[in-house]
Amino acid sequence: MSLDTALSPVIQLCNLTKRYGSFQALTDVSLTVASGERMVICGPSGSGKSTLIRCVNQLEKHDAGRVLVNGVELGKNRKALRSVRTDVGMVFQQFNLFPHLSVLDNLTLGPMRARKLTQDQATQLAMRYLERVKIPEQADKYPSQLSGGQQQRVAIARSLCMEPKVMLFDEPTSALDPEMISEVLDVMVELAESGMTMMVVTHEMGFARKVADTMVFMDAGRIVEQSTPGEFFSNPQTERGKLFLQQILQH
């Protein structure tokens, strides 16, 4: 990869603002995610980190500012939005697997309907990614027959089947029992090492330290700090950053 493409921005957010009624969820947020960059976003609950990541694929519509993915501005144009969404994978806190479909069908639905692959192509793709998240033997089960950790790995595989350019993770381990967190994080670490561009909202600071290129700390709808993990964890620049780290790393 040349330096030029390595640094080309996949995601650009400019002065993003989002309100829910009178509540200001995001205020003037600007950031850039370069191709291959791993960004971890942290902050206290209600700080707007989920809203931010959901604006990237427009699950939330922003009120002001601009969202660009691969240079395409997202707004009213539905066609542009749909094609961008096939390039942006998303993993949710609650997995959001389709409960009426088998694991395999969960994985092949997107590729077949949105990418127009044939059943055979989609199945091959699905099995490849199920192997990558280490549960190919669960292909014929239904989501409810799997553990939380397995379900989240299926959800990651489902997103990967779209062969996205970026993966968004919205608190992917927050709904999991403690003993299942590491199996999901392992998959995410491996994904990061493979060069995937990632934007991750999480409280897993161990994961952040291990894989993040950039740490973003948010509070009250604004980006308060943005730095490398080394810098952020050893020497936070703001009082709020210090306080947050103290609270989260206490135990």
Binding site: R82, N96, P99, L109, A114
Partner: protein, 250 residues
């Protein structure tokens, strides 16, 4: 049919037959043992074809129509939502019997077309029921977790794919019991179409009563005819519920 349903049936039918030995009930009019009784019985059963055809055609149309009316009710567009509201409120407010009369006697004048009793019945039943189906579908679709819609959106599925593959399969499972209710209701309400001369079960029974003057026996048989039909439908709906529920253990 399972054992419990069978016993229920027996419990209902046996007392009637026993009482039939007394002088109040004269079962000879519909006795399968005599040629005249057999003819009467066959005459009554002859209505079965139209009752089934009428209600099945009507339910197919009303389910389709109901779904098409429910979808705009879930739109973010105010105009679409208003259409849904107005349709449901108006159609739901017309008594079925009145609607049947209006469609059969009024519609041909208004539209300048000829409409036979069968299609008048189908149109009236389907129209009337579609408002209820629309509300059932709206409730079912709204009960699907918003996370499902977000997941389909994030996979780049369009509106139709999302409905077809993600939302409706989950919604329909949940609305099967009320849909079954409507199916039973339609079967019963098809009896009202007898007033415009449709030769279905009820009409046949009334004609037999006019000829034989045995209303008690004839209408008792009529009740049993509906009972059997509806128990079959219920069993079918339950079978469908079980079949669809096997997969999704939640």
């Amino acid at each position: 049919m399972n054992r419990r349903t069978g016993m229920l049936l027996a419990a209902l039918v046996l007392p009637l037959l026993l009482v039939g030995c007394g002088d109040k009930l004269q079962w000879y009019v519909v006795s399968p043992a005599t040629p005249a009784g057999r003819a009467n019985l066959l005459f009554m059963l002859g209505g079965l074809k139209y009752t089934i055809l009428l209600s099945m055609t009507a339910i197919l149309i009303s389910v389709t129509l109901g779904l098409l009316v429910a979808l705009p009710g879930l739109s973010t567009n105010l105009f679409a939502r208003s259409f849904n509201r107005v349709y449901v409120e108006i159609v739901r407010a017309v008594p079925l019997l009145v609607l049947i009369l209006w469609v059969y006697y009024g519609l041909p004048i208004m539209m300048g077309i000829a409409i036979n009793v069968f299609w008048a019945g189908v149109v009236a039943l389907a129209l009337s029921d579609s408002a209820f189906e629309a509300e059932i579908f709206r409730a079912g679709i709204q009960s699907v977790d918003p996370g499902q819609i977000e997941a389909s959106d994030s996979l780049g599925l369009g509106y139709l794919d999302r409905m077809r593959y993600v939302v409706l399969p989950q919604a329909i499972r949940r609305v099967l019991p009320p849909l079954g209710n409507q199916l039973v209701y339609m079967l019963k309400m098809s009896s009202l179409v007898s007033v415009i001369g449709m030769e279905e079960l009820t009409r046949r029974a009334r004609e037999l009563v006019t000829a034989e003057y045995r209303p008690l026996e004839t209408y008792t048989i009529l009740i049993l005819e509906y009972l059997v039909l509806i128990l079959i439908v219920s069993a079918g709906v339950r079978w469908l519920e079980r079949k669809l529920a096997v997969r999704e253990h939640r």
